[in-house]
C-alpha cells in the first residue's frame, strides 16, 4: 500500500483495519490465521496441478460477504485474484 511522504507513518487506523479483517476472518471461519495461510497454499497447489500458474504472482483473497439477493442471506466466497 503506497503512501505519499506527507503521510509520515503508517496511520494506526489502516493498521487496525488490516488486523481486524484478518482476525474477523479467522473468527468467522472458526480457524486460526495460520490455518488460513496453510489453506491458501494448498489451494494454490491444487490449482498448479491443472493450470500453468506462477505461484509468486498469485494471491488468494478470502472474503466473507453477505448478500441479500435471490433469497440468499449469507454467501461465503473465496476470491482468487491474479490468474
Amino acid at each position: 500500500m503506497k503512501k505519499f511522504s506527507f503521510m509520515h507513518k503508517d496511520q494506526s487506523c489502516s493498521v487496525a483495519k488490516d488486523r481486524l479483517s484478518t482476525v474477523l476472518l479467522a473468527d468467522r471461519l472458526n480457524c486460526t490465521p495460520e490455518m488460513v495461510e496453510l489453506m491458501k497454499q494448498e489451494i494454490l497447489s491444487v490449482m498448479e496441478k491443472y493450470l500453468e500458474i506462477d505461484r509468486t504472482r498469485m494471491t488468494i483473497h478470502l472474503e466473507i460477504t453477505t448478500k441479500e439477493e435471490q433469497g440468499v442471506k449469507h454467501a461465503k466466497t473465496i476470491q482468487i485474484k491474479g490468474l
Partner: protein, 264 residues
C-alpha cells in the same frame, strides 16, 4: 404494535446502558410509552444512569418469581411519565431467571407499552441469552476500536443464529478529530467491516459523563450526544434522518487519502 428491542454489544463498557437510558428517554419524550429493563442481574446500572436509584422497591426478579405484581416493580419517571424502568436485582445472579420467563415478562410488558427496551449485560452467556429471548429486534452498540468491533461481530453472528432479522448498529464514542488524523476508524469503516445497517453514530461527548453524574439522560438536549441519541430514536420510529455534521467523519484530507487506500 409494540416493539421489543434488545441493546447489546458483547464487549463491556461501550455504552449499552447509556444508550438504553437515552434511547428510552428519547422515545418517551416523543410521547411513546416506553419501558426500559435492566437485565444485568447482580450488576445493576440502568437505575443509576437514569437517576432513579432511590425509587427502587421491587425488581425484575421479584416480578418473575411472583413476589409482587408488575405494576409494583415498574418505576415511572417523574420527569417524563411516558418512561418507566424495570430495575434489576442487585443481590442475585444471572441464573435467577430463564429465557422462557423473560419471554413471558416481555409479552406482558408489550400489552402496556409501545416500546420495550432491554439493556443486555456484557458477554455471551446466560445474561445475554435471557436478554435476547423476548426481543424481536436488536441494536448492537460498538466503539470504533478493534476489540469492541471484534466482539460486536461475534454478537451479530449469534443474533443471526438466533434468527434475528432486524439488527442495527450504533457506533458510540467517535472522536472526529482522531478520525481526521487517521488514528481512529470512521463510521464508514466500521459499517463496512460489520456489514450491518447503521442506526446512529454518537460522538465522544463530555456531557455524557456529566449526565450520568447527575442522573439526567440527555437525549433531545442541545448537546452533541443528546442530538445523536435523539436521531436514533427518530430513525427507530421510521424517519429518515441524515447523519449529523459531527457524525460525518470524511473530511477533505481523508477524502484524498481515501483515494490511495482503495488500491488494497
Amino acid at each position: 404494535m409494540s416493539e421489543v428491542i434488545v441493546i447489546t454489544s458483547g464487549k463491556g463498557g461501550v455504552g449499552k446502558t447509556t444508550a438504553t437510558a437515552n434511547i428510552g428517554m428519547g422515545l418517551a419524550r416523543m410521547k411513546k410509552k416506553t419501558v426500559v429493563i435492566d437485565t444485568d442481574i447482580g450488576l445493576r446500572n440502568l437505575d443509576v444512569v437514569l437517576g432513579l436509584e432511590n425509587r427502587i422497591v421491587y425488581n425484575m426478579v421479584d416480578v418473575i418469581e411472583g413476589n409482587c405484581r408488575l405494576k409494583q416493580a415498574l418505576i415511572k419517571d417523574k420527569r417524563c411519565p411516558e418512561l418507566s424502568l424495570l430495575p434489576s436485582a442487585q443481590t442475585r445472579d444471572k441464573s435467577a431467571v430463564t429465557p422462557e420467563q423473560m419471554i413471558k415478562l416481555t409479552e406482558e410488558l408489550k400489552e402496556h407499552f409501545d416500546y420495550v427496551l432491554l439493556d443486555c449485560p456484557a458477554g455471551i452467556e446466560q445474561g445475554f441469552k435471557n436478554a435476547i429471548a423476548g426481543a424481536e429486534r436488536a441494536i448492537v452498540v460498538t466503539t470504533p476500536e478493534v476489540s469492541a468491533i471484534r466482539d460486536a461481530d461475534r454478537i451479530i453472528g449469534l443474533l443471526e443464529a438466533a434468527e434475528f432479522r432486524n439488527i442495527d448498529l450504533l457506533i458510540n464514542r467517535i472522536r472526529p478529530d482522531m478520525v481526521r488524523r487517521g488514528e481512529m476508524m470512521s463510521v464508514e469503516d466500521v459499517v463496512e467491516i460489520l456489514a450491518v445497517n447503521l442506526i446512529g453514530a454518537v460522538p465522544d461527548d463530555e456531557e455524557v459523563v456529566i449526565s450520568t453524574n447527575q442522573g439526567e439522560p440527555l437525549a433531545g438536549d442541545d448537546t452533541q450526544a443528546g442530538q445523536a441519541f435523539f436521531n436514533v430514536c427518530r430513525r427507530i420510529l421510521g424517519e429518515e434522518v441524515p447523519l449529523l455534521e459531527f457524525e460525518q467523519t470524511t473530511g477533505f484530507l481523508s477524502k484524498i487519502s481515501g483515494l490511495f487506500h482503495r488500491g488494497r
